[in-house]
Amino acid sequence: MTIPFLSVRDLTVDFDTEDGVVHAVDGLSFDVEKGTTLGIVGESGSGKSVTNLAVLGLHDPAYTKISGEIVLDGRELTTAPRRELERLRGNKVAMIFQDPLTSLSPYHSVGRQISETYRRHTGASRGEARGRAVEMLRRVGIPHPVSRVDDYPHQFSGGMRQRVMIAMALVCDPDLLIADEPTTALDVTVQAQILDLLKELQEQTGTAIILITHDLGVVANAAQEVLVMYAGRAVERGTVREVLGTPRHPYTWGLLSSMPRLRSSVDVPLVPVRGTPPSLIHVPPGCPFHPRCDYQAQAGPDLCVGDRPELSPHRGHGDACYLTPAHKREIFADQIKERL
């Protein structure tokens, strides 16, 4: 058995807040292999960003408690000293964010923002780093990179800014790129361009990518593996084919039914997942999804409110639900499939 490039085990992230302890991530495990893309999907507040900020060690330790293991290329990150994390960030692990306007510094030229990352991690000279910045801008498809390198982010369009962001993230050839909703702020045609760009760059460099999104359509196009998150936990995991083709968890069914872009026929009404996401301070006991789930009765009396269901089986296509495999197949085939 090979050791995965990134392995997250039983990750728990708790925030101390005035209202109580927020259990943003609770017992999450997943792997990412080199050269592949893992899509993480889930509603707003399901802990997608928190998980990945934890991988980078970007949470403020003053009010954040992190436990579990995050092993990147054999190195344990949750206990790594701050300096080691600083050397890793932007170098071996890079991140791009949702809103490229607010995520780039308005006070520095794009060339400076790219080259300072490069200089920080390689010790290159000013001139070399500037050359590298121009090269990166060219690689991400910015026209006339030589003349644009000294421009400021506000002088670029939204899609171009996200390209700059990607250039900055990839300047040190990271082994892992975390893209947190990289296309949500962009319009549809630009979205497709950015996703193509990521794919293309991945083919060139073999970077592993974690792609966070609300949009299962994006996952279908860009990822090989999927992790569906609900209330800080994984509820389903598998390949894109498995999870989108034969989904097993009621929450995944709900997500798929509420997703306009995957649907084949226009006249079937969209079915949003009923109810609202649970409080992360007082997480419902048992399966956190049970207050919104229509299939509790079929799973068996009191099962869903008792113990918390584990993701099973441990490898391959797994889901955390008490319905029997036969039930899941049956419900999906009879009630869900027609809606998609």
């Binding site: 980078l56 970007l58 003053a62 701050r82 600083e86 050397r87 890793l88 960030r89 932007g90 170098n91 890079a94 991140m95 964010f97 809103d99 607010t102 995520s103 780039l104 510094s105 308005p106 006070y107 030229s109 300072e116 990352t117 920080r120 991690h121 400021y152 506000h154 962001m165 900055m168 993230a169």
Partner: protein, 325 residues
Amino acid sequence: MSRFLLRRLLGAAVILMIISAVTFFLFFAVPRDPARFACGKICPPETLELVRHNMGIDEPVFLQYWHWLIGIFAGRDFTYGRCDAPCLGYSFVNQQPIFDAIVDRFPTTLSLTIGAAVVFLLFGIGMGMIAAARQGRPADKIASSASLIGASMQIYFVGVLATWVLVDQLQLFERPAYHELTADPVKWFSGLLIPWLVLSIIFTANYTRMTRSSMVEQLSEDYVRTARAKGMPSRTVFLRFAWRGAMGPIITIFGVDLGALLGGAIITEQTFVLHGIGELSIKAVVNQDLPMLLGVVLVAATAIVLFNIVVDAAYAFIDPRVRLS
């Protein structure tokens, strides 16, 4: 940049005209007779008439203003002698051209305000940064409570108390006084130390709070998170990214605060008996010395207006999204 300067300087000239005109006419709106005041208790009508004429207040107000304005550029002749350009008029109370009186007092006020500004910018911003870096920890709490106390201080009260304790009782500091910088830098410094500290207390407190909140806000900005996400060391994140963003609002407020600083300087000069512009202006009010009052107002307004042009230019320099045009 040069177009910006030209436009702003023109604007400044207009503003200063308006300010001087308003001061001029306001003074005449209040019934009083500076000539009688200057003439003394027992004053025969003929003498009063003469004094009026000499002071130039027997003319219509508009004409008076016009002469005053022309005098700034061309100089004026009084019965007492010639007043060279820039002539802001003649103080019959001080028996001196206004401009000379202001030039005499200017170094004192300039030393006082610049010194105090250096103190409060240094300490206010420094403490605010430390508080922001140590959010919620003891250093933050100390800085925050200190700034609350500081903001409620009174210059006169603190000044008298500080002199009594530090000079009279403990004899740690020199007695506040103004010595010329060029004559004796050490005496200049030690004589102004207490006035600087006293004048800057309230400002230090305000700048501490402002810097802290501005930094805290910036530290939660996305671009600061990006800086951390790309491996910038925390010191760099703090100084080169967050502070860069936090600076803008502080510089703007600094421009606005110059007026308050001059106001504070007047009180400080009174407190420590420093012979600066502040003292001059209070005397001018007490003596109904319109030319002096006008001169002081004009000089203060010019300082504030010019300073704000510098502040706006600095802002554009810090934030590339702001264009000077």
